[in-house]
Point group: C2
């Protein structure tokens, strides 16, 4: 990525043909890989999905492996942005802690459950062992970054006396755990679509527990309603 516009940049694209083939190929590749898995995907079909001839694929990306590698990296970049954006709500939240956390959680979950995110995690899980470098990178600038940024936010909130956490990294890890882990089972490893109401419920439950443990006052804010 980042070097997309080297030589052939900046054309206006007709609906067909002159768009940046490379990106079209990478997106199509990700779709096919996500659907069939790496081993079951064939380059032919990827080319078809991208509306491109097979040699074109091999011109832009020499190899099925590097095609996969590149398609995955692109997907990581696309995905991580949405998760990080969800955390913006936590910088200097105005209302009460509960609603800020709950909404942040809900946004994180929506990003987490987007079909692209789920497909990405599935593929990483599936082919990660065969692409250790890719896996490491993806984790570092994906979930790890989200967790770090959230830790920063939580630390600020603790400093301003709105949370009673002492280890922001651990709290961040655990808040994310309370959010995402339940989805594993509920979405059947990403196979089932989870209705938004359920996401909201999970976010609410996570926030509840988190505030019970780390809300101001130490006793947590028991919420009867």
């Amino acid at each position: 990525m980042t070097e997309g516009s080297t030589t052939k940049a900046g054309k206006r694209g007709g609906v067909r043909g002159r768009i940046d083939k490379r990106q079209a190929i990478l997106e199509a590749a990700f779709r096919i890989f996500a659907r069939d898995g790496y081993g079951q995907s064939c380059v032919r079909e990827i080319a078809a999905e991208a509306n491109v001839a097979k040699p074109t694929v091999y011109n832009h990306l020499g190899d099925k492996e590097t095609l996969f590698h590149e398609a995955m990296e692109a997907a990581v970049v696309r995905t991580v942005g949405r998760s990080l954006a969800a955390l913006d709500r936590l910088r200097e939240p105005e209302g009460e802690m509960r609603s800020a956390l709950e909404e942040t959680g809900h946004r994180l979950l929506k990003s987490h459950c987007s079909s692209e995110s789920q497909a990405l995690r599935g593929l990483l899980h599936a082919e990660g062992p065969r692409f250790p470098g890719l896996l490491k990178e993806a984790q570092r600038q994906g979930p790890q970054r989200v967790q770090d940024v959230l830790a920063d936010r939580l630390a600020r909130l603790a400093l301003s006396g709105r949370l009673t956490i002492t280890d922001p990294d651990q709290s961040s890890e655990q808040f994310l755990a309370l959010l995402t882990a339940p989805l594993e089972l509920r979405s059947r490893l990403g196979t089932r679509r989870v209705p938004d109401a359920e996401l909201r419920a999970v976010a609410r439950a996570a926030t509840d527990t988190f505030l019970r443990a780390y809300g101001v006052g130490g006793a947590g804010e028991r919420d009867g309603a």
Copy 2:
């Protein structure tokens, strides 16, 4: 493992044995599938791993798909037992709540991080979408069962006044979330071996947070030491 002392030595049999070929094949198949993924595995190699001729594989299990299906189901059965066993510690725990939860959590994590469990989850994640029936069954009698049994235990503890939870199912879900989710990142999706000390730390942190939220007294037991 477990293949070392089979009963092949009973007769003058050479290298090949009279063991239940079928099980040997299933175990070998799981090993190869786990290592290479479904699409990249070839039956030839599975047969070799099982010390068996290729037609024998097709005699016992007619098809690569059903071979996979069956191997996975066997692995599920093998795995779930270990996790359920870890929960035994929670029936009428004698000491304090903290140590019981912590040790239970640690055992669950050890089971969760066993190479077989990790491989199983990886394969489910990888090929689940192509085997929806298998995925559903595996989830139902795997994680779902663990979560349900834990909920039972927690409910008993709440009833006897040792926890202040109101929704055992949710608490079970969240305790498991606090345990397993952090491992996703730390083990790099099961690629990295996590040292036992780290498992202990995660179990401790999970227990800490859980008790802060649901320990007796509502305020949770803040534990300095």
